[in-house]
Structures are given as structure tokens and as C-alpha cells.
């Protein structure tokens, strides 16, 4: 809801300029407006129809290559945490890639030919009685292993789910 504020300063004569004090008229206007759609069929939202610039995450550096101390998994975890905690830091080329072991048979079975989830969220067709990460390289056991070692669950920490569902926009241009 927009809010409009107007400030106006007035001086009646040149003599007023010489006086130490002058009256200042201040006005504030606040209005509340809301667009109500009564026929949603008449409104069409074109989400993400055009790219307006690259930000980060499309490089070829591996997570774990930036940190210098710790075990291999501690380095990957540290790089992942830095990436998630500093989303505005684009001063340096940030790591972008994760690597996971996989058996060729899993690829041949068709579990890896469309989509995979590297986080704690399951794919729609994975939810059920077992709730297993069949699409993760190595399956559920390997997801648990990597989740414990590098903290894959943290990927969604701090996410504003309501904003994502409501398609909230960060800024307006043009």
C-alpha cells in the first residue's frame, strides 16, 4: 500500500529572509490502495521470462577449493556455509560445484536422467511411505552420509517460504 508524503516550505517576502525564524508548512498525505482482481482469468503472470544479468553460482570452482584448512569434508562444508551466509559477496569467484559418487547402474536405471535433489526436500514422486532420496547419487544412505558431513540441510535455512509462494518481487524496474 503506497504512502505519499509531501513537504512544502514557503517564504512570503524578502524581509522574511532576514528574520531568524520563518514558518514552515508541513503536509503529509497517506493513502491506502489495493488492486483487487475479480476475474483471475483476465490476469496472466509471466514469471522469469527474461534474464537481466548473471549474479553468481555458474562457475566451475568446486566447493572445498576455497578453504585451506580441515579435512576435505570440512572444507566443503565451510565453503557451502560461506556461500549461504554471504549471498551478497560477489567480489571473488565463488565456488559453484559439488561432486558426488554414483554407481553407473543408478544412471542406467533412469533415476538420474531428469532431476535430482541435493537438499532434504524430496521430489514429488519420492514422497510416500518410505520418503527416500532415490534421485540422490547413491540413494538415501549416501544422502544421509553427505548431509552429516557437509550439512546439505542448511541449504534451505533462512528461506522465506511465504515470499516464494506468493511470488514476491524484490524490486521494481522500468
Amino acid at each position: 500500500m503506497p504512502s505519499i508524503h509531501t513537504h512544502t516550505y514557503t517564504f512570503s517576502s524578502p524581509e522574511r529572509l532576514l528574520t531568524p525564524f520563518v514558518p514552515v508548512i508541513l503536509s503529509h498525505y497517506t493513502g491506502h490502495f489495493k488492486a483487487m482482481v475479480s476475474k483471475p482469468q483476465n490476469v496472466f503472470v509471466l514469471r522469469d521470462v527474461m534474464a537481466n544479468g548473471y549474479r553468481m553460482g555458474g562457475g566451475t570452482k568446486f566447493f572445498g577449493s576455497k578453504s585451506t584448512t580441515g579435512t576435505p569434508f570440512e572444507k566443503i562444508r565451510a565453503d557451502l556455509q560461506y556461500r549461504l551466509m554471504n549471498p551478497e559477496d560477489i567480489t571473488d569467484e565463488a565456488p559453484s560445484l559439488l561432486a558426488f559418487p554414483m554407481l553407473t547402474s543408478q544412471y542406467d536405471d533412469g533415476h538420474m536422467d531428469t532431476v535430482m535433489s541435493v537438499t532434504s526436500r524430496l521430489l514429488p514422486w519420492e514422497t510416500g511411505t518410505k520418503n527416500e532420496h532415490k534421485s540422490f547419487p547413491g540413494g538415501e544412505n549416501m544422502f544421509k552420509f553427505y548431509n552429516e558431513k557437509i550439512g546439505l540441510r542448511q541449504v534451505h535455512f533462512g528461506e522465506d517460504i511465504r515470499a516464494a509462494e506468493n511470488m514476491d518481487y524484490i524490486s521494481q524496474v522500468c
Binding site: 482482481v37 553460482g57 560445484l97 559439488l98 561432486a99
Partner: protein, 200 residues
């Protein structure tokens, strides 16, 4: 247009080709696009194996053989009970075959690798299209408020410097502007006449 930052992810699978012949090198490497550099970059299988955390580099100078770690060796990777330790052995053999130009064994070919790029972020533009007219909807006005007040404020603090100088030189001011300090240059041009012309 509306703008927001959107993340997408993608993954690549590194599997062994079917018909590897003797003398073929680096057959496990792939070429992917690097948006940071705006060019394609070669991802070596050895480098990718190191990034899994399951291997470390040899401490011996010049030794390219990977050192296998023991992390999660007993983890099952499929329903048949294939252990992670077995994958490590096969992946190491596959890397050595790729580096040495030899034909990998069937067991070595069972090791694959997945590269995931989970946080590719772009500024994306969106748009909303609607049919014009009252049939679609309306803009509803809620409560509004207008406040007007008069406040006394000091003019001297609000005036810019140029206005302040103008005020001092105006006829309403009786005090004269003090003379500037004479410089060596002004002495050379009969300074008294020169200065008085510009004094108010």
C-alpha cells in the same frame, strides 16, 4: 517489468564411454560452460574425484595417484549392497586408466560421478498482463489521511551559502563586508581602486 533474483540448479553425470580403446586419454573429462569466465571449461575426472571428499592428493612430489580415504566405506550405495569402498577402488582405477590411456575394466566402468551446480543465480524479469476494463477488477481505496502543520524553523540554517552571501550584500544589511587581505598581485595593479569597485 518486475525483477527478482532467482536460483536454479543443474547437474552433470560423468560416466565411462562404451568403447574406450587403448591410447585414448582423458575420456572421462567433460567440458561445461563457466558463466563466471564466459567460456567453456574442462573438468578433469581427477579434479572431480578430489571434490567428492573421498580422495586426497599424494604427498609425494610428482605422484598423481589419488590417496583413498576411509570415509563412509561401509555405506551401501544401492539395494544390492554395493559399498562405497568398492566405488572408491573402481573410481581410482577408472581415473588411472583415463590418465594412462588404457582400457578400463568392467568393474572400473561401474563408477560414475555427478557434478551438481545448485545455486546458479540470475536477476530475472517478470511481467503481469491483464485485460483492461472493470471486468478484471478495480483499485480499491482504503482509509486516507491528510495532516497539515505549521512549524517555526531557523532560516539561517536552511539557506545555502550563496543565499547567505546575497543577504549580506543586500541593502537591508547595514554592515559592510570587511576588506580582503591584500595580496602581492593586487599591489601591482593599484589595489585600492580595484577593491573599492567591488565593495558594496
Amino acid at each position: 517489468m518486475l525483477e527478482r533474483f532467482t536460483q536454479v540448479g543443474e547437474f552433470y553425470v560423468m560416466t565411462c564411454p562404451e568403447n574406450v580403446k587403448t591410447g585414448a586419454f582423458d575420456f572421462m573429462d567433460i567440458l561445461i560452460y563457466d558463466e563466471e569466465k564466459d567460456r567453456h571449461v574442462k573438468i578433469g575426472f581427477r579434479r572431480a574425484l578430489l571434490a567428492t571428499g573421498m580422495f586426497t592428493e599424494s604427498t609425494t612430489a610428482g605422484d598423481l595417484d589419488l590417496v583413498v580415504t576411509t570415509y563412509g566405506d561401509n555405506t551401501d550405495m544401492d539395494a544390492a549392497g554395493t559399498k562405497l569402498s568398492s566405488w572408491k577402488t573402481n573410481a581410482k582405477a577408472l581415473e588411472e586408466a583415463s590418465r594412462g590411456g588404457t582400457v578400463p575394466s568392467a568393474d572400473a566402468k561401474s563408477a560414475s560421478l555427478v557434478l551438481a551446480r545448485p545455486f546458479i543465480e540470475h536477476a530475472m524479469l517478470s511481467a503481469v498482463m491483464a485485460v483492461s476494463g472493470g471486468d478484471t477488477g478495480a483499485t480499491v481505496f482504503g482509509p486516507s489521511d491528510m495532516q497539515i502543520s505549521v512549524r517555526v524553523a531557523s532560516i539561517v540554517r536552511r539557506l545555502p551559502v550563496t543565499s547567505l552571501v546575497l543577504t549580506l550584500h543586500s541593502p537591508f544589511v547595514r554592515r559592510r563586508t570587511p576588506r580582503s587581505r591584500q595580496s602581492k598581485g593586487t599591489f601591482a595593479f593599484n589595489t585600492h581602486t580595484y577593491i573599492h569597485i567591488f565593495l558594496p
